[in-house]
Amino acid sequence: MSVKHALLALLEKPRYGYELRAEFEQRTGASWPLNVGQVYTTLSRLERDGLVEAGGTDAEGRSLYQLTEAGQAEVKGWFDTPVERTQPQRDELAIKLAVAVAVPSVDVGKVVQQQRNATMQALQGYRRQARSGAGDDLPGGLVLDRLVFAAEAEIRWLDHCESRLRRAAASSTAPEPVQPEGESR
């Protein structure tokens, strides 16, 4: 995730580092905690790249950062560009299932079921967060919804995997382990 761009966007008004971190966490429902060191490292890189500049100090003497013109253009570019899909080959779960199907000693159904239980428990956790008011403000709610939709999609995909595995097992007459392509004869 581009912490850099999110922090830049939050500098629509001058802020100091600690405030920026608090703002980020509040807006994203504290789903991705940042340490303040990360924030200052990012800010100094942004300053080096000419995207932010020191903007004086506030009443309590804290150094404020503000966007440069280049920084404003960078923020606009970020919002104008769709986020790239993450690389599917880095998806550990997909790799694990693909390999599980190929390794005869592995009970693939059990792998699917265990993953589904774990993801359902995560989903129940999001639900508890939502019920305790974590998603009541709009930005926090949208982030929580995103996590719910992602977990839901994973469980649906696992259901789908299970159903394909069962079909494959039913259609294979040989007493061999399930083949990855159930439809192939």
């Binding site: 989903l123 129940q124 719910v148 259901d159």
Partner: protein
């Protein structure tokens, strides 16, 4: 821990005989306690709806036993089961199952009137139940004049009226959009938090996540369970 509101013990259900024999359930045991919502998930034909109709006494198991509120459904007989359905069990179905010629309040009052309650008392309880599901002001409307979400709310009011201890919901969100479905689950959950036991059949993970426990059914068998066990839930209560 107290007795469960619903207890299924080694329940099997076989339809047909001989070559045409279909095993809808093959020895399912399950309990739902007061204050608890249990979700049942599984693909089409896995037996999850059979499980619900048997739990509510709409169908009888081929073998095994079902207890609702401490009463064995087989021993209760036909009239005893009918009484239990009118007084202790509330159903919510995907297609609402409302009577179009009756108003919202009349639909909700019906089980009470069938059980012998006076018309006025039944209407009063029905209106209170409609208030509880956010339909105050809609009591005299007919189902056809209302949206899908509102119709499902009537069905929930009918399922909770008269203080039912067991709520059985079969894909209650199936005909609704996501936000409206969430509202319906919120109502079912609130009723369980208020002390009812709930069993929710769904194939949607997002709605199952409202439950304390999620049970997976495959080929008429419970294959696994995710979420808190009743014992874990109890331990939390003790700590709190």
């Amino acid at each position: 821990m107290s007795e469960p509101v619903l207890r299924l013990t080694d329940v099997s259900r076989v339809h047909g005989t001989g070559a045409a024999e279909v095993h809808a359930l093959r020895g399912v045991s399950l309990a739902a306690y007061a204050g608890e919502l249990v979700a049942i998930m599984g693909p089409s034909g896995s037996g999850k709806s059979s499980l619900l109709t048997i739990a509510g006494g709409l169908d009888s198991p081929t073998s095994g036993s079902v207890e609702v509120a401490g009463q064995d459904l087989d021993e209760a007989g036909i009239s005893g089961r009918a009484k239990l359905r009118r007084t202790s069990v509330g159903y919510v179905f995907q297609d609402f199952n409302l009577i179009p010629a009756l108003t919202a309040a009349e639909n909700v009052a019906l089980p009470l009137e069938l059980d012998g309650a006076g018309r006025r008392a039944a209407q009063k309880a029905a209106r209170a139940a409609l208030d509880e599901v956010g339909l105050d002001g809609f009591a005299d409307r007919f189902p056809d004049e209302m949206s899908g979400g509102q119709r499902q709310r009537i069905a929930i009011a009918r399922a909770i009226v008269g203080d039912r201890r067991l709520i059985l919901a079969d894909e209650p969100t199936g005909a609704l959009d996501t936000e409206t479905g969430e509202d319906i689950l919120r109502l079912i959950r609130a009723r369980c938090d208020a002390g009812a036991a709930g069993v929710l059949v769904t194939h949607e993970p997002r709605y199952a996540s409202w439950a304390d426990r999620v049970i997976y059914v495959r080929d008429g068998l419970v294959v696994d369970e995710a979420g808190e066990t009743p014992d874990a839930a109890l331990a939390e209560e003790v700590e709190a």
